[in-house]
């Protein structure tokens, strides 16, 4: 019993001293921290709840407004982008409308009957050689119909229909190296052969050396060439080459009246070439 009492005495002294030491030393803050750590460790939901709850409670109103502004900004940017695309489309439509109006007005003044066609395909490998149009035999297009382009409010020779399909046709450009046209050179009316070179220039060939071929002379199709109606502007002489010693004619470079690079639509002149040839033969007789 005495031993038990001694043990009790030692125990109470020990724990009392320990308690007093805890009381004396500033342990409250440490205990408080330990309690918080223990609470957070034992109750993760409380920990995260308190953390994010605090975060959410202290989110300033202007930050929320900033987020809303950002969302609004994104929406408006999308709208602006959409409107820019629409504007571009509208501008293109307006430009096309103006161009078509001019061309339509011009085509009414042309002495030939025909129809407008849109260029649907250009081949990079044959840029100055040919292109396709969206009119074919279903629209009355025939082989060798004359194809005119419009530039600077004037019609000019672009080429002729080379292949015809039901829905589209292939046009052989006058700039094609295989294309040629009998032309008349102003002002003398001298007839010469204008040939394509496969580039953006044409070449006028077989001009007698004594003729007065000057730079700037206008060239139009001649009546002698049945492939094209007479009087269609072909181009303008830009450079005259001197006669070669072994040849008795001169040549010149011609700038086409129509720049094939800027063509969007062409006017296909209905020729009915067979009937025209028969009519021409009858007239001769």
């Amino acid at each position: 019993m005495s031993r038990e009492k001694d043990a009790a005495n030692y125990a109470i002294v020990f724990f009392a001293v320990l308690s007093v030491l805890l009381l004396i030393f500033p342990a409250s803050r440490i205990a408080h921290t330990a309690r918080i750590v223990a609470s957070y460790s034992l109750y993760p939901s409380l920990h995260y709840g308190a953390r994010y709850g605090h975060f959410v409670r202290n989110v300033p109103a202007n930050f929320v407004a900033l987020l809303e502004t950002d969302q609004e900004n994104r929406t408006l940017r999308e709208k602006v982008r959409d409107l820019e695309i629409r504007l571009l489309n509208a501008s293109a439509s307006v430009a096309e409308n103006e161009r078509l109006s001019k061309e339509l007005k011009l085509s009414r003044s042309l002495p030939w009957a025909g129809s407008w066609a849109r260029i649907i395909n250009k081949t990079p490998a044959d840029w100055y050689g040919s292109f396709f149009i969206n009119k074919g035999s279903d629209d009355g297009v025939e082989v060798n119909d004359t194809v005119l382009g419009m530039q600077d409010d004037k019609a000019g020779l672009a080429g002729r229909v080379f292949e015809v399909y039901p829905k589209f046709s292939k046009v052989l450009l006058i700039t094609n190296s295989a294309a040629s046209a009998v032309c008349s050179i102003a002002p003398s009316g001298l007839e010469a052969l204008v040939e394509g070179k496969g580039t953006w220039l044409l070449k006028v060939n077989y001009v007698p050396e004594q003729s007065e071929l000057t730079e700037g002379a206008q060239i139009t199709t001649a009546a002698g060439g049945l492939l094209f109606p007479a009087g269609v502007p072909v181009g303008k002489v830009t450079k005259v080459y001197p006669r070669e010693s072994f040849m008795n004619f001169i040549t010149a470079d011609v700038t086409p009246a129509v720049d094939v690079n800027t063509l969007k639509e062409v006017f296909v002149v209905r020729r009915h070439l067979q009937r025209e040839i028969i009519a021409a033969a009858g007239a001769e007789r």
Binding site: A11, L18, S19, L23, A27, A31, H32
Partner: protein
């Protein structure tokens, strides 16, 4: 094994006290379960273990408090020692003696803690309402806790 069970009982007592004070208070009042556990342990256990239980339960109460860390540890350690002295002369296993012990020791503990707070932190942590009602609440709960602890002691050999 018994030691582990004692640790488990200690943690369960503390947690239950925390849960009760958080969820089952009426008009801000609830029995001090830590006190009841400390008194029951003091009645049942031997002197050293009783004081240790008082100390550690008090430490738990201090941990839940905001100031004067060690105050409850000292209070309940002394209470356990006092119970050890008293139970040599009185039968503390009876309901009535537990009731009286809980009433009186609650008051003494509060007064002592109040005194400690005056000495160490000069604040008044115990309001008059608590001082007047909590001893009775403690007196009601101590016999219940005692029976639980007694049952656990018989079944597991702890305390």
């Amino acid at each position: 094994m018994a030691f582990l069970l004692e640790i488990l009982l200690y943690l369960a007592s503390g947690t239950f006290y925390w849960w009760w004070t958080q969820n089952l208070t009426f008009f801000g009042l609830a029995p001090n379960f830590i006190f009841a556990a400390a008194l029951s342990a003091a009645i049942l256990a031997g002197p050293v273990k009783a004081v240790a239980w008082g100390f550690f339960l008090g430490l738990y109460a201090d941990m839940l408090g905001v100031s004067m860390f060690g105050g409850y540890a000292l209070t309940y350690s002394l209470m356990a020692y006092a119970v050890y002295i008293v139970k040599r002369h009185f039968d503390m296993d009876s309901f009535f003696s537990q009731l009286v012990a809980a009433l009186s020791l609650s008051c003494f503990c509060m007064l002592f803690y109040q005194g400690l707070s005056l000495v160490f932190s000069r604040i008044n942590p115990t309001g008059l309402k608590i001082f007047l009602t909590e001893p009775f609440l403690n007196a009601l709960i101590v016999p219940v806790v005692f029976q639980v602890f007694y049952w656990l002691k018989r079944r597991t050999g702890i305390l």
